[in-house]
Amino acid sequence: SQWGEENLQALSIQEGEDVTMNCSYKTYTTVVHWYRQDSGRGPALIILIRSNEREKRSGRLRATLDTSSQSSSLSITAAQCEDTAVYFCATANTGYQNFYFGKGTSLTVIP
């Protein structure tokens, strides 16, 4: 399996709070993708962080990558109700042009 400690988990927070989701992976990757999946839809990329980047920001999103510990995190600042979704991280196998998804975090933001 590509994955280590990440398990499907459910988080419930109040609107306006900050939240961080973590994932760890077992095999080498040059990039970590973070996707969100809304109910009844396919995943959509929200942020991508390369192995030569330690941090990447996009609006209220912040991704980090620590290649030495093979872990990545996604933080959302001042969460809003529309952030309610399942968030997945995915690593890439460059040899096969393939992407492996972790189990995801189901985030619910309560108004």
Binding site: L48, F88, N93, Y96, Q97
Partner: protein, 114 residues
């Protein structure tokens, strides 16, 4: 933005019958994927496809599964025969070359085997 279209959105089929799931990938993409997701669970990789060939397949890609993209048209996943455990949502995806690019997903086809 670019869209991956999947047809149909829901299909119900009797166990043991054949089913073909159709995907219309983004037009200039070269890599195609199928993922399986059971409700509330992880996206599980099934297979990826490039230049008319399967590049990699997972253990979930049983002998009853096959993929093809005849004449550059739909990218299809065929299951023959189907089993009850094949019930899931199947997502098709496509991407340009390189792993630093976005993978675009369709909305999925919900397959129910009865």
């Amino acid at each position: 933005g670019p869209k991956v279209l999947q047809i149909p959105s829901h299909q119900i089929i009797d166990m043991g019958q054949m089913v073909t799931l159709n995907c219309d990938p983004v037009s200039n993409h070269l890599y195609f994927y199928w993922y399986k997701q059971i409700l509330g669970q992880q996206m599980e990789f099934l297979v990826n496809f490039y230049n008319g060939k399967v590049m990699e397949k997972s253990k979930l890609f049983k002998d009853q599964f096959s993929v093809e993209r005849p004449d550059g048209s739909y990218f299809t996943l065929k299951i023959q025969p189907t089993a009850l455990e094949d019930s899931a949502v199947y997502f098709c995806a496509s991407s340009p070359p390189g792993t630093n690019t976005e993978v675009f997903f369709g909305k999925g086809t919900r397959l129910t085997v009865v």
